[in-house]
């Protein structure tokens, strides 16, 4: 998406450039892998043109991310995929934790990366890089994105490739991912095809995802996760409905924090947040020959949440009267309660966090952080 030119003499806007990234390596010794190749795929999202580059390190010497990106930019300009080095672009990989750590200068930029769902992405400030061009050094900002975060959890690169119509190249019989050096030695051409495909897929996936987010949902922001896209969508919907989101969420617009008088009540509400509860009650192994049903209501969360009105944050207060707390539609309530179910209760429903992160348990007796509807 091209930015509007804010000034008569402002620089021409950059094309939407995504650089797919991948690396192949082989285990060398404990704690050390030998890099076989780095692959880059530069995709001009505006024109759809693509250029690929594979870099073989000399004697296993790792390259810096700036050198790799410089070289792919030079190649892209040589092939007229881009007219100049863009000042802002996206670097995409699938499971960046494995690939981006292979660069020699990872230690220099790792503090700019955020850890999101056990992988790396730039969540706040992009990487500030200095690349080489024929016109001199160019300062660029690179946003690191992991396609694992832009796809349903656990989606493999192979599956993304299939969805894009690009099938992942299979290793021939007798070769394995553990010994890619043998594959490179025996089939260098096929190795190159195999390796480059893994860089092309993330680039295409990012462009496709952002295209869909813009076309279908009107989201312009280059979000790092699908959850981020959901947040943007809420913001767009709130704006369309004339809802001031900070006011709606009980936040101070200037400080971007919860309103001062809500601090203590929000802490209680956060403790009482446990997620949904559905169960298929049976003890031990499933009874032979008997069907067990686990009901999962479609869109249950969104339907339930749509019943919540606009909270009146100014009337938020502490109270301990059970008749005021045990309500559903009259108020949003949450409390720490000590409880005991009658003897013989088969399915106690108040959640208690088990020790050592073992999740939630539902005992007959105990203390539970829970909400008003739990007590009805």
């Amino acid at each position: 998406v091209r930015a509007r030119k804010p000034h008569q003499f402002a620089e021409d806007p950059d094309p939407f450039v995504v650089i797919g990234l991948d690396a192949e390596w082989v285990f060398e010794s404990a704690g050390r892998n030998r890099i076989l190749s780095y692959q880059f795929a530069l995709l001009n999202g505006d024109s759809g043109e693509l250029t690929t580059l594979i870099e073989y390190p000399n004697n296993g010497m790792r390259i810096t991310i700036e050198r790799g990106l410089t070289r792919v930019m030079l190649k892209a300009r040589q092939q007229h995929v881009i007219a100049k080095a863009p000042k802002r672009f996206i670097v995409a990989g699938h499971f960046t934790r494995a690939d981006i750590t292979t660069f020699a200068d990872f230690g220099c930029f790792n503090r700019r990366l955020g850890a999101v769902r056990k992988t790396y992405a730039t969540t706040e400030i992009p990487l500030n890089l200095r690349l080489v061009s024929n016109e001199g050094p160019v300062r660029c900002n690179a946003v690191i994105i992991d396609t694992m975060l832009l796809a349903p959890a656990g989606t493999s690169l192979e599956k993304l490739g299939k969805l894009l119509g690009l099938h992942k190249i299979e290793l021939p019989d007798g070769y394995s991912k553990d010994r890619m050096d043998v594959f490179l030695r025996d089939h260098p051409d096929l190795f190159e095809q195999y390796a480059l495909r893994d860089a092309v897929i993330p680039a295409l996936w990012v462009v496709k995802t952002y295209g869909l987010l813009l076309d279908r949902l009107g989201i312009r922001k280059k979000v790092v996760t699908l959850g981020g896209a959901a947040v943007e969508l809420v913001k767009i919907q709130a704006k369309a409905c004339g809802i001031e989101l900070h006011e709606f969420l009980g936040r101070d617009k200037k400080r971007k924090q919860p309103l001062a008088h809500l601090m203590s009540t929000i802490a209680i509400a956060a403790q009482a947040y446990h997620g949904g509860y559905n169960l298929a009650a049976a003890l031990g192994f499933s009874p032979a020959g008997k069907d067990l049903s686990d009901l999962d209501i479609r869109s249950a969360y969104t339907t339930a949440l749509s019943c919540i009105g606009v909270p009146n944050w100014s009337s938020a207060r502490h109270c301990v009267e059970l008749d005021q707390l045990a309500v559903s539609s009259e108020a949003m309530t949450a409390a720490l309660v000590e409880f005991r179910f009658p003897d013989g209760t088969r399915f106690p429903c108040l959640p208690v966090r088990a020790s050592n992160g073992r999740g939630l348990v539902y005992p007959l007796e105990g203390a539970s952080w829970c909400t008003g509807p739990n007590w009805l």
Partner: protein, 123 residues
């Protein structure tokens, strides 16, 4: 020329002109000066991106002197001064087309001899 189309430029003094002046706006404002140099291998472009405006609270605030000095140098070569510029919009018209000598050197960057502008002189 390297395998990827990178052309080295020997350090030296080249006749040239200020071809294009553009700005990059953000929290700070950079001026992007494109020089057209006449080299033995033909015309070649070099680009400089220098800070010319920043809020006083910015850590880069003192760097604006570098940008303003470069602009002032080019204006002086063209027989003008900073006082002739009435704002950012007037600068491109004043700077573009001025004939200058550009002194360059090379900086080793990511395995390349990357040309950079050292200073500009009267042609």
């Amino acid at each position: 020329m390297s395998d990827l189309g990178f052309e080295e430029l020997a350090a030296g003094n080249y006749q040239g002109t200020v071809e294009k002046v553009r700005y990059s706006f953000g929290t700070t404002t950079h001026i992007v000066l494109t020089y057209r140099l006449e080299t033995p291998n033909g015309a070649r472009r070099l680009q400089e991106r220098i800070l010319i405006d920043a809020p006083q609270s910015s850590v880069s605030y003192f760097h604006i002197t570098t940008g303003l000095t470069r602009v002032e140098d080019i204006l002086r070569i063209g027989g003008m001064s900073l006082a002739d510029a009435t704002g950012l919009k007037s600068l491109p018209g004043l700077l573009e087309g001025i004939a200058i000598n550009v002194v360059t050197r090379n900086q080793r960057l990511h395995g390349y001899n990357c040309p950079i502008v050292v200073r500009v002189e009267k042609a």
